[in-house]
Subunit: 338 residues, 4 copies
């Protein structure tokens, strides 16, 4: 806890736990100096686990703490915009989990506060920092596959979330596929122009209660002509399925799943390899670490964030276009969303 | 040429050559007894290569030949319906290459002639007979993956066809993706209800001249809820890319590409495996063989065809729905097509 | 049976069946014109299956048949040398299954008869014709991996042979590992100088009755410095395990096993691929075909055999060195064997 | 540096750096409290990098430091035995890098001191803690593959060490293959009875100067009948090659190499994956971490060491048997070594 770069973490839920661990143990010279959650017991528990000196149910205590350099926003999405504004006005740098916010006008207000107060803002799309995905981005930008033509992004969770999570998630496009929308722009280095989306409820009837899908498929046309497929499922019994593919005029790049270990058993029924790493907490540990290191670097050394407020806004706009498409059965142009 | 089962082959082009080789050398007890093509030189050349006794520019000569048991229709699509009717009326059994015909009313007329004359009719969707794809079908039907939820079908040719071929192909959906439409029904054991399609011209400007695409992506909703992605490209520099995937409530099944050989070279730059088998003439040799053997078995032993006229019609209807969707930018219901 | 190149096949056992099928159905312009086996019923059964006009229990009938171009020797090893001599004196070309013979002086006599009568002689080491192994040989000779340093050859049968087979096999080194001895010379393009061998009886106590092993491991030093490992087992429950690897100063080449199909099932326990192809009759079908085509080509066009009498003798000498090493517990120099 | 468990590290060379990083950053509750090296600059440099408060050229200063709980011996092998004795007499627990010592009587003296002073002793064979290798050990012990019959261990370094390192290494068997000797006992859960070894100089003529090999192959017979192959090379241009395989009556277990990332590029020449992780400092980071955590656990909680002094001695005895075999050209029984 004696590190130079002090984070105030807001939100002690699933993703808050990931960042508490990351900033406490995996980012050199960083530490978590305080944790806030309206569920004080959750905040205290996490504080205890990672030796965090302050646990509070009022995040404003972290904004008031002069020693804190940056706020990591890990609360439910409803609160993101207000917290970003509060942090920016307290001159704290901001790391914000996805999605930036549910509404574009909230996002615009939050980003305006960031700009006005000249603080660093970085969006938490962790998959950009995966060693495989980022290698593909670099290769695409360097022209290794020529002109990108087709892109496939597959993201399937191992098991559906709790009913409570489903109720407030905002729906599969803004809650889950938001990662893939961001990844599509990142991998293709291009902007979307039109989105078609459809979905089903096949995994858990809980999703249907909220007009949500648990299985969804999307087609996106990009400005330079590439077409991108995304599919999401809330359940893949073989583990967290994370694959991307970009094909262009000169070749194809793919990332494969990472498995629990590198063993194979060959028996009378054939060859057996273990499950895919179970979920993002296992699969993307190094990506969260790289993300944390980069955020610290942005603040300390002024390097530009690898994932900006503009990126955060663009993904939310894509999610809105997808939701509208799924409702109307037609492709929706991005310019309709604004 | 002394085999019991005698085929009359109509069409000495690319696919005619495949079936000439298959029925001449890979199907026990079968032979090609005559070959017809309006390009007589092409017919003669193939006849010479496979020791076929009759080469003609008038396919009616084959219909009149009493020794011939069955006609294999391998001409351009325009002629399919008339030839099926002619063959059926001459009491010849019929094997027909894809697509069955361009128009549904032509198809209905052809299938009526088949029924009236009580001849065997089998559609030539060769991929159904691939050892991997057919294993997946069997596993899906047997419930190995539970309820199917997502399906991916990827089919990319190594290089675009000739300008002449493009001019008369009928467009990517009915010429190329027709295979994948059939495969989607086969793998999911279900019927499509709605199709969305889009495409680009990124490979060869020749396609744009005919309002065609060289790159296309489709989303299909099936009756029992599964959603299916198909993508096609007219060029994949690494070889013929043929992959399918079906995920359900209990697991996922995939087929991988077959490579030129099973060697790996490990050098200073990493690990290198050879290209995918170049095209369908290499990739699907065993599938064409199985298809030929099955056709002979249908005629000789009365086993029901693995791929029927109904299947041939359904794939054409899907291609029509896709073409309409790509034109209108909306999902098209199968009931709109008829 | 009207093909130009007529084979007389001697031996209707396991390997005789393979060559009956190969020369009858997979080698253009070749056919089996007669089959001999002391078990006349076995000869007749195979003749019936492949439409072979002559079945006899006296192989001399085949030698006397003027229409026969070549004899394929597929009998138990004891008879090889005499049959080669008989065939050569009858001016028949000879294809001989492994091992050439049990004793070096028998081999020398047989090869002398071949030379004196100026007939073509080709050894049947089928693995040389495998597309993967032969690609490695070509790459090694072309210098792709620089100077070869290490070689691994793994060959494990799916299940042990019958007690009767074990009794007369000659032991694991001359019966089974003979293939790998040949492969080591072929892949490294070099000659062995010293061999160490050891073995165990762990699979079937039948082997111990004849002082034989069912599990064996060998180390071979080659003239240019490379060191080669071979292991054999009479039982691998996951199928026929056939892998080779050559590492040199500039890289490493490997061949992988071929599986029953190219599907993967992903379920709650992980990823599952089917068994390896069960045995040589499945795994090496294309290699036997290439071998047959090459033999016909040698006779018809005078191309030099890809596998000579010298190669056949060298492998037997290595087997003798291995057997002596296993008995004495020391490395045996090839020059001790002669 | 405020952690509870304090390590005194002796040796600031290649392996000392690995443990400095491990105990400083990857083992919870542990820290390096002092570092000694006769090259004081090297000690200071490492102390600086990991915030280690004491850097000295006299390791006895660490033995005298009451706050230090344990000594990690990372010096050249010559010094191991004396340092273990010194540490034990100072009542420090001992973690010792491989090989334990060059001579068996030194080892016996060192282990006697450990026992007399009732300190914990753990051997540093890091590969035992690899997630793949340890999974195989667990599966073998649990009977998943039945009775073990064959074992292959492949270990090839990416590039040869410095001439200085070669001069004092003790030779390939005791310096490099010692890891594989230990792994063979660990994986097979059995004791060796006989070893055959041979080697070449093909990579770097420096090795020949000291009668050493840069390429070596070994066959080991185990008490229960299994036979084990080990090969080592000082150069593999594709990266650190680390594979193990154990086959038994019911199946086969293997570990695959880990590559730099999980991407594949498919281009006109085929499919390309990146290099294997370069060397042990990259490949075995998690294994070193697990090893460090286990050592702390042994001291704090009295859990028995996963790798004992007996294990360290057994591997040295195997190295001696291999060296004798390579010199004499015969298999050497373990009982000859003592």
């Amino acid at each position: 806890m004696s590190a130079n770069f002090k984070i105030g973490l807001v939100g002690a839920g699933r993703i808050g736990k990931v960042h508490a661990k990351t900033f406490s143990t995996l980012v050199p010279d960083a530490c978590v100096a305080g944790i806030a959650d309206i569920d004080l017991a959750a905040a205290k528990s996490l504080a205890n686990q990672y030796d965090i000196p302050v646990a509070t149910d009022d995040y404003r205590r972290l904004l008031d703490d002069k020693s804190i350099d940056a706020i990591a926003v890990c609360t439910p999405t409803d609160f993101h915009a207000d917290m970003i504004i509060g942090a920016a006005e307290a001159k704290k740098h901001v790391f914000c989990e996805k999605p930036l916010a549910f509404e574009l006008d909230q996002i615009d207000a939050a980003l305006a506060a960031v700009e006005k107060n000249k603080v660093v803002f970085m969006m938490g799309f962790n998959r950009r920092h995966d060693v495989g995905h980022s290698r593909i981005r670099k290769d695409v930008v360097a022209g290794r596959i020529g002109n990108p033509e087709l892109c496939l992004i597959i993201s399937r969770d191992p098991a559906p979330p709790s009913a409570e999570y489903i109720r407030t998630s905002g729906g599969i496009f803004v809650d889950m596929m938001i990662h893939d929308f961001d990844l599509s722009r990142y991998l293709l280095n291009d902007e979307p122009v039109e989105i078609y989306a459809t979905g089903s409820c096949m995994v858990d009837p809980e999703f249907a209660k909220y007009d949500d899908f648990d299985t969804a498929m999307v087609v996106i046309r990009f400005a330079k002509g590439a077409i991108c497929h995304i599919d999401n499922s809330r359940r893949a019994v073989y583990g967290y399925d994370q694959r991307v593919e970009v094909m262009g005029s000169k070749g194809r790049l793919t990332t494969a799943n990472l498995l629990e270990d590198n063993t194979t058993f060959a028996g009378p029924d054939g060859f057996h390899e273990p499950r895919a790493l179970n979920f993002f907490m296992e699969r993307y540990v190094p990506a969260f670490q790289t993300e944390g290191i980069m955020f610290v670097d942005c603040v300390k050394n002024g390097t530009p964030p690898a994932c900006t407020g503009f990126d955060g806004r663009a993904a939310v706009a894509m999610a809105k276009a997808a939701a509208l498409s799924a409702k109307t059965g037609r492709a929706v142009k991005m310019e309709e969303i604004g």
